[in-house]
Structure formats: structure tokens, C-alpha cells
């Protein structure tokens, strides 16, 4: 059975159908890229999966569990992580503290109350070295550059170690080298983690995607491998108009 | 039944004064996000200004109203310029700073004028009552209600029909962009704050014949006015009006059924519940942000 099954999902904002009868299945360990013109409902789909937005109808099942009705933190505990479009790290906390927050295998309140200090620093160190922030562990996140902030957020997702990671434009604002490094890192995650990535940068998508789903006006327009999508007539129409 | 009507009528006159206070607060909060805990002291200043004009110049309340408005607006303008301006990015801190300002104003009046209560005569031409059946309505209270409706209408017109209102709404939506189009946001803020303070001054003038004027009179009024603003929905004029009438009337009815204190406790309880379940107020804006 697929890891994530979305059936008949729809959501309305004041009459506007942002997501309209969407069906989607994602297999464990694959990297799925969501493409589509602006306003196609890509980010909203991620919001619906992680619980930021409640659907008007339809079902989302993750590893057999029905997610609708669960709160954000309960979904996170099921193993769903999320990276937002605007980098959202804790600017007042240091890099190391950010990772400590992300280290959330045991997110219970009582457990936190009886845990003194910063948690598993060895893992934090390893993750920071992997993304090249090891030197900055004691720096406040607010003092990082834009690119470093992106890396910190990716480091936080790695630390959180969710089975399913939702990424909203992870390479926005990155240089070409950084984008390549991100692509490499994502490919290392393939197999052990499932990734759903919203991205506009086609060269990046070509490098990482196992499968592509193209959305338009809230519904699935096409799905398939990179070549299939690049040769799909309906996709061309949606992007270029008639 | 007549008792109920009399109670509802006096509730309505209190509600209309509450409305004028809340309007000023709502404008200040809605436009600049400042929680002005000194607003009650602006009301107090308005009351003392009225008292001073009656005592030293023999002005009736009606004559004094425009002067009171200007005087308190000036105080508000200065306070905005010197203190509040520095705190626009720190909404929680405005609670603290304006509380400090409130203490200063209260103590200044206590030192300058004295702590004992002062009395202001109602305007002579509004003496007397309108009697319908057994319901007795004093002319002055009727005037207060009508005047408050007038203030509400004028404020609404100011916000929607004038160039100033247009600029203010532009600054509320996006200060940065408005400044790019040549709107001087800081000037708009000063004037708005001054206008809100002036309204509090008017409320203070209106309240003088009904309440005794003492330095601490603002403290309880500001809590009520705040609840009106929050219940009405931040920045919504119509919401504030509805909430003021509702709170005024519910207080009046509860006070009759139970007693004044329990009535007030019950109203506070209702308000807490309302904020809990409708945190965006009775009439939230339906814009998707």
C-alpha cells in the first residue's frame, strides 16, 4: 500500500476552490515533485497534508492512518515534517538550539520538563557538518545569511528525521552551487525518506525527481516521469496558455 | 416592566459614552496597533478640562465640548510625538508604556488639582425629563445618546469619505508602500492618535454631570472600553458600536436581576467567553490575509 494516499481532497476559501478533487498517491522512499503554475494549489496541498489548513472534504491517509481531524502536532508525531516557503527558523535562538528544538522524537511536555540541557549534541554536530554550519553552532539564527538560513532549516528537517518531508521551494534564493548541493543531499535521502517537493526550478527537478505531478487549478493535470511530463501536451498548454 | 425600560434607558446612555471612549481606542489600536492604557486618563483629563472651564470661565458643557476636544487632542498629540512613536513595532510594550503614562497623568492631576472629587453642573437648557408612561428619560441623557451617534457618524465619515481617512487606511494596510506613494505615515499616526485622544476628552466632558470627577475615574472606564473594542472586533467601528450597546445593556439588565457587582462579574465572564470563542470579535473582517 502506498505511504500517502490522498483521495477526493478539496478545500475552498470564500468560494475559491484552491484544491479541487485531488487524488494522489506517494510511495515510501520516493521523491515526488509538484509542479504547476502560480495558484495551482501546490502549497495548499502541502498545507492540507501537514494540517495547516483543514480540508472541506476528502481523505488523506498516511501509513494507513486517516489524518483529517488530527491537529498539526499530532500529524508531526505521525512522521510528517514540513519546510515552509519563507525560511522559518527561530531567529532568537542559536543554531544549536534550533536543532535541539527540531530534535523531537519525544515531543511530550513532561519529558521536556524533566530533560535538562540541549539533548543529543553529537547528532546535532553531525547534521551541522553535513550542511556546512558546524562553525556557526553558537550563532543566533537571526544573524545567518539567507543561504545559511535555508541550510539551517534543512538541517532542522534532517534532525527531525520525519519519514515524510514536505518541502516548499527549498532552493529559492540559493546560488547554483548551493542548489546542486541540496540536490545531492536530497538524493541521499531517497529510499530512507519520502519527499514531496514544490519547486519551479526545472533543472533541480530533473536532478532529484523520481516522479512528477503537475497541478492546475487545484486538480491533477498530469503525472509521470520527467520525460513524460516534458512531452505532455496538456502541461504545455497549462503553462503557455493556448 | 417600567423598571426594565428605565434600566435599559440608563444602560443606553452609559453605553453611548462607552462607545465614544471605545471609538478612540478602536481607532488607535486599529490603525497603529497601540494598546492605549492611558485612554482612561484622557477621559479623566477631558472631565477636568470641562470642570476647569465651568469653574473659571463659566462655560456650560455644551460650549466647552469643542475646547475640551482640542485640549485633550493636543495632549494626545504630544504624547504620541514624545513616547508612543518609539514603540510602534512593540505592541506588548505599548501596554506598559501607556500604563506608565496613565500613572503620570493621574498623579499630575492629583498633585495639581487635588484628589477630592469635583462636580460639574449639567447644561441648563437640558434640564428636565421626557416622560412616556412611567418611563422617565432625562433630557441630558437623551442628548448624550444622540451626540454619541453623531460622533460615530462623523468618525465613520472621516474614515471613509475624506482624504485623511483614505491615507489612514492605506497606512494601516501597508505602511511601507504608502510611504512610497508620498503619504507621511508618521503624520497620519500623530493625527489619528490625537483624534482618538480628543474623542476620549469628549467622553470625559459628557460624563461629568453623571459621574463624580476624580483622578482615578479613568482606570475602570478603560478596562470596559477595552473589552468593547476587543468584543467588537479590532478596528471595526460598527462592531465597537454594537459591542458598546450590548455591554451597556447587558450590564444594566444583569445589575437589575442580581446586583451591581454580580452583574459586572457576569458581564466580564460573558466577555471572556466571547473573546475565547470569537477572538476576532463580533464583526471580523472577512478578508483573506
Amino acid at each position: 500500500m502506498a505511504q500517502l494516499q490522498i483521495q477526493n481532497l478539496h478545500v475552498e476559501f470564500g468560494g475559491l476552490r484552491a484544491v479541487d478533487n485531488l487524488d494522489l498517491t506517494v510511495e515510501e522512499g520516493e521523491i515526488l515533485c509538484l509542479l504547476g503554475p502560480n495558484g495551482a494549489g501546490k502549497s495548499t496541498t502541502l498545507d492540507l497534508i501537514c494540517g495547516k489548513t483543514q480540508p472541506t472534504g476528502g481523505s488523506i491517509r498516511f501509513q494507513g492512518t486517516e489524518l483529517s481531524g488530527l491537529l498539526e502536532y499530532e500529524r508531526a508525531r505521525c512522521g510528517i515534517g514540513r519546510k515552509f516557503q519563507v525560511p522559518s527558523v527561530y531567529k532568537e535562538l542559536t543554531v544549536a538550539e534550533n536543532l535541539s528544538v527540531a530534535q523531537s522524537r519525544h515531543p511530550g511536555m513532561w519529558r521536556a520538563l524533566f530533560t535538562f540541557g540541549r539533548g543529543d549534541t553529537a547528532t546535532q554536530r553531525r547534521v551541522l557538518e553535513r550542511v556546512g554550519l558546524a562553525e556557526k553552532a553558537g550563532v543566533k539564527a537571526g544573524n545567518l545569511s539567507h543561504g545559511e538560513t535555508q541550510w539551517l532549516e534543512i538541517a532542522m528537517l534532517l534532525t527531525q528525521d520525519s519519514q515524510l518531508i514536505l518541502m516548499d521551494e527549498p532552493t529559492a534564493g540559493m546560488t547554483i552551487q548551493e542548489t546542486e548541493k541540496t540536490a545531492d543531499l536530497f538524493r541521499q535521502l531517497r529510499g530512507s525518506h519520502t519527499l514531496i517537493i514544490v519547486e519551479h526550478d526545472m533543472s533541480f527537478v530533473r536532478r532529484v525527481a523520481d516522479r512528477i505531478v503537475v497541478m492546475n487549478r487545484g486538480a491533477k493535470l498530469a503525472e509521470g516521469s520527467v520525460e513524460e511530463i516534458e512531452n505532455n501536451a496538456a502541461v504545455k498548454t497549462a503553462y503557455l496558455g493556448h | 416592566m417600567d423598571v426594565l425600560f428605565n434600566q435599559l434607558f440608563s444602560g443606553l446612555s452609559m453605553a453611548s459614552i462607552l462607545l465614544v471612549i471605545a471609538l478612540g481606542l478602536a481607532i488607535i489600536y486599529g490603525s497603529m496597533g497601540v494598546i492605549n492604557l492611558a485612554h482612561g486618563e484622557f477621559v479623566m483629563l477631558g472631565a477636568y478640562a470641562t470642570w476647569a472651564m465651568q469653574t473659571y470661565f463659566g462655560f456650560s458643557i455644551l460650549v466647552a465640548l469643542p475646547f475640551v476636544f482640542l485640549a485633550v487632542a493636543l495632549v494626545g498629540w504630544i504624547i504620541e510625538l514624545v513616547i508612543v512613536r518609539r514603540l510602534y513595532r512593540r505592541p506588548l510594550d505599548t501596554i506598559l508604556a501607556t500604563w506608565g503614562i496613565g500613572i503620570i497623568l493621574q498623579q499630575a492631576v492629583r498633585l495639581g488639582i487635588g484628589a477630592e472629587s469635583r462636580f460639574v453642573k449639567g447644561p441648563g437648557i437640558l434640564d428636565g425629563n421626557v416622560v412616556i408612561g412611567n418611563v422617565v428619560m432625562s433630557n441630558y441623557r437623551i442628548f448624550v445618546i444622540l451626540f454619541s451617534i453623531g460622533v460615530l457618524a462623523a468618525t465613520w465619515a472621516l474614515m471613509t469619505k475624506t482624504e485623511f481617512g483614505m491615507k489612514l487606511r492605506a497606512v494601516i494596510q501597508n505602511r511601507g508602500i504608502s510611504e512610497c506613494y508620498g503619504i507621511e505615515a508618521s503624520r497620519v499616526y500623530s493625527l489619528t492618535f490625537a483624534y482618538g485622544a480628543g474623542l476620549a476628552g469628549i467622553a470625559g466632558a459628557l460624563i461629568t454631570p453623571l459621574y463624580s470627577t476624580i483622578p482615578t475615574m479613568g482606570t475602570s472606564l478603560v478596562v470596559d472600553a477595552f473589552l468593547v473594542v476587543i468584543v467588537g472586533g479590532l478596528g471595526s467601528l460598527i462592531g465597537a458600536a454594537a459591542a458598546a450597546v450590548m455591554i451597556g445593556e447587558v450590564t444594566a439588565v444583569f445589575s437589575m436581576v442580581m446586583n451591581d457587582t454580580l452583574g459586572r462579574i457576569a458581564v466580564l465572564g460573558c466577555i471572556i467567553l466571547l473573546i475565547r470563542f470569537r477572538p476576532r470579535g463580533l464583526f471580523p473582517e472577512t478578508v483573506r490575509r
Binding site: 501537514c50 491537529l71 535562538l93 550563532v139 | 500613572i103 476587543i230
Partner: protein, 369 residues
């Protein structure tokens, strides 16, 4: 982080030395003077309790005085029963002829001590669950807690037969603490209050350095993001409200002992905002700084309000406005800024880029936390 913890422990040790040794020495072990100082110390506890919820989690609780008041009334009820032969005097004046059920268990000291901690915690917890389940935050927390405080104080004043109304509870017996009859004008009593404050600060420092405290700071910055890591934000917020309320109740019990009466003015809006002032002056980010803020403001008030009877409040208002505008992080912010400036100066003298390793320089560059 180890650096910061060591700074906190250093400040803790220095503070302990001041209140256990320096203050009694300065007052020449004079019981009367020390009683006055014990009052400041008990107020320091309620200030550090507020710093825990406001400074760490960013939840400005304007109803802190309510939980403080519950603690103080719990203690006063016990002492009143000790002082009365049967029914407390004021009940007779209010035509209450049997001891109300609410009063009965306060015959027991153990119950009283527990109730003084647990009742405030329960009240704080209920309000917190009520607000935080609905994701109320920011200004609305301040408004709801303020409205609750006003209602609560009115209720206490209105229930004359139960609470003594406007007069509060007076004519209390001295506390008999498991055989030790507590003389509030003794040096021993001062040490008791000082020990309570140090214990409260220990809890405060533990909480702010635990993972719990870290998550609270994360919530202060971005509650939404924190939920996506799997943390149940409302349970963290509720817990910090409970801890803060329990500490406030504890402070209230001590305050009743010091002043030998309980009054509804302990639950007034102006008292509650005064607590906020102390914390703002000291610095909301550190429990020790908040405690110091409370002691400084109250000590100044004690000295200056005799000299400038009416002018004192004016000075307090002016100081407070100046602090909020120019020292938003309080004395704590000032100290960390100066310390940061000092070490920047040292570093530039050494003039060696190698010494400015990121980890070392970080806390100074941002002035601490």
C-alpha cells in the same frame, strides 16, 4: 549554552550571598528592618514567576495578582481560624453562623500549605487551558487575564461573609510552623523567606535551562512552526502558567505572613501591573533579574515614598516609561550589553582574528540571550 548556564549560576550564587549575608549584615540583624526586606523578597518571588511566563514563553499574564491573592488568602484563612474561637469575627457581622465548607479544611496547616500552591496552579491551569486550546496569543492573553482579574477581585469583595469583603482578613494569629511559632520580626523569619526565594529561583533557573524552557522560547518566537515539530504547544503554555501561578501563590502566602493581613487590594489591577513594572525594570528574560527588579523598585518605593508622598507615583510612572522606551530588556539587558561591549573591547585590543571564534563571540554580538 554551558556559558550561559554558568553565568546564571554565578549570578545565583552572588544573589544568594547578598540576601543571606550582605543584607542581614547591613541591617545589623535588626528584625524590624529585615521584616521590611522580607516583604521585598516575597514580592520578588511573584515577579520571577511572571518572568517565567512572560519572558520565556512571551505570554503576558496581567492576572498574576489573582493567583498571588489566592495564596495570600489561603494562608490568611488558616491564621484567622487559629486566631478565632470558633467562627471568625467578621462572619458574625455578616450573619454567617456556621463555618462555610470552603473554610473547614483550612484548619489544617498541611492542607493550607498545599492549597496555597495547588489552588493557584489549578486556577492558572484552567484559564490557560481555556485560552491556549483556542490558540489565543499575544495581546488577547493580556486582555483575557486582565478581565479575569477584574472579575475575580469583584467576586472576592462581593462575597463578604466568606472573604471579609473590602476589609480583607485581619487580626491573624502567628503561624505555628510544625512547633515553631513564627515571629515575623525575627531574623529566622527573614531567612525563611530568603530560602523560599532561592528555592523559587532554583525552580526558575531549572525550567529556563530545561528542554521545556527551550521549547517555550521557540513558542514565543513561532508557535505555529513549533507545532510542526510535534510539540503540543498548548500543553507547554498551560504548564508554564501552572508553575507560574503556583509560585505566585507561594509568594502570596509569604506576603500574608509578612504583613499579617490579606486584602483584596492584592488582587487589584494596579498591583498586577505593578508586578509587570518590576519585571520590566529588572529584565523579563532572566528570573534573577526579575527578582532584583522587584527588590529595587520596592526598596526605592519604601525609601522615597516617605520623602515624596505624592510625587513617588509620578516618579514611578516616568521611570517606567523611560525603561520601556530606552531599556526594553531592563537592567538585565543593560548589564549584558555592557558586558558585551567590554569583551568586544578586549577582543579588538587583542586584534587577532583567531580568537574571535564564532562560538565565543556569539553571545556578545547579540548582547546575550
Amino acid at each position: 549554552m554551558t556559558r550561559k548556564l554558568s553565568y546564571d549560576l554565578l549570578a545565583y550564587a552572588a544573589f544568594a550571598a547578598v540576601i543571606f549575608w550582605l543584607v542581614p549584615t547591613l541591617y545589623a540583624y535588626d528584625g524590624f528592618e529585615l521584616n521590611t526586606f522580607a516583604r521585598y523578597l516575597s514580592l520578588a518571588i511573584v515577579a520571577m514567576a511572571l518572568a517565567l511566563s512572560w519572558g520565556t514563553a512571551g505570554l503576558l499574564n496581567l492576572g498574576q495578582a489573582a493567583t498571588f491573592g489566592i495564596g495570600s488568602y489561603a494562608m490568611a484563612m488558616h491564621l484567622k481560624l487559629r486566631a478565632s474561637d470558633g467562627l471568625p469575627d467578621f462572619m458574625g457581622w455578616n450573619n454567617v453562623d456556621t463555618l462555610p465548607w470552603l473554610w473547614v479544611p483550612f484548619e489544617s496547616l498541611t492542607f493550607t500549605l498545599l492549597a496555597g500552591l495547588l489552588l493557584p496552579a489549578a486556577v492558572g491551569g484552567i484559564i490557560a487551558i481555556f485560552m491556549f486550546r483556542a490558540r489565543i496569543a499575544g495581546v488577547f492573553v493580556a486582555v483575557i487575564t486582565l478581565a479575569f482579574l477584574v472579575a475575580f477581585q469583584l467576586l472576592v469583595i462581593e462575597q463578604q461573609g466568606l472573604t471579609g469583603g473590602q476589609n480583607g482578613l485581619t487580626g491573624l494569629a502567628p503561624l505555628n510552623l510544625f512547633g515553631w511559632s513564627v515571629d515575623t520580626y525575627s531574623v529566622g523569619f527573614y531567612y525563611l523567606v530568603a530560602a523560599c526565594l532561592m528555592a523559587a529561583l532554583t525552580i526558575g533557573i531549572y525550567v529556563s535551562h530545561s528542554k521545556f524552557g527551550l521549547i517555550l522560547r521557540a513558542i514565543r518566537e513561532d508557535a505555529e512552526r513549533t507545532r510542526f515539530f510535534g510539540y503540543n504547544v498548548s500543553s507547554f503554555e498551560t504548564m508554564v502558567f501552572c508553575i507560574s501561578a503556583a509560585l505566585a501563590g507561594w509568594a502570596g502566602m509569604l506576603y500574608t505572613l509578612v504583613l499579617e493581613f490579606a486584602s483584596p487590594t492584592y488582587m487589584s489591577v494596579s498591583f498586577s501591573l505593578a508586578i509587570v513594572i518590576w519585571v520590566a525594570v529588572g529584565g523579563r528574560e532572566s528570573v534573577i533579574a526579575a527578582a532584583i527588579g522587584a527588590i529595587i523598585v520596592n526598596a526605592l518605593e519604601g525609601r522615597l515614598s516617605d520623602v515624596f508622598v505624592e510625587g513617588w507615583n509620578l516618579m514611578l510612572g516616568v521611570t517606567f516609561v523611560l525603561v520601556v522606551i530606552f531599556m526594553p530588556r531592563g537592567l538585565f539587558g543593560l548589564v549584558t550589553y555592557l558586558a558585551g561591549a567590554g569583551s568586544r573591547l578586549r577582543q579588538s585590543r587583542q586584534d587577532s582574528p583567531k580568537t574571535s571564534a564564532p562560538i565565543g563571540s556569539a553571545p556578545h554580538a547579540q548582547g546575550g540571550r
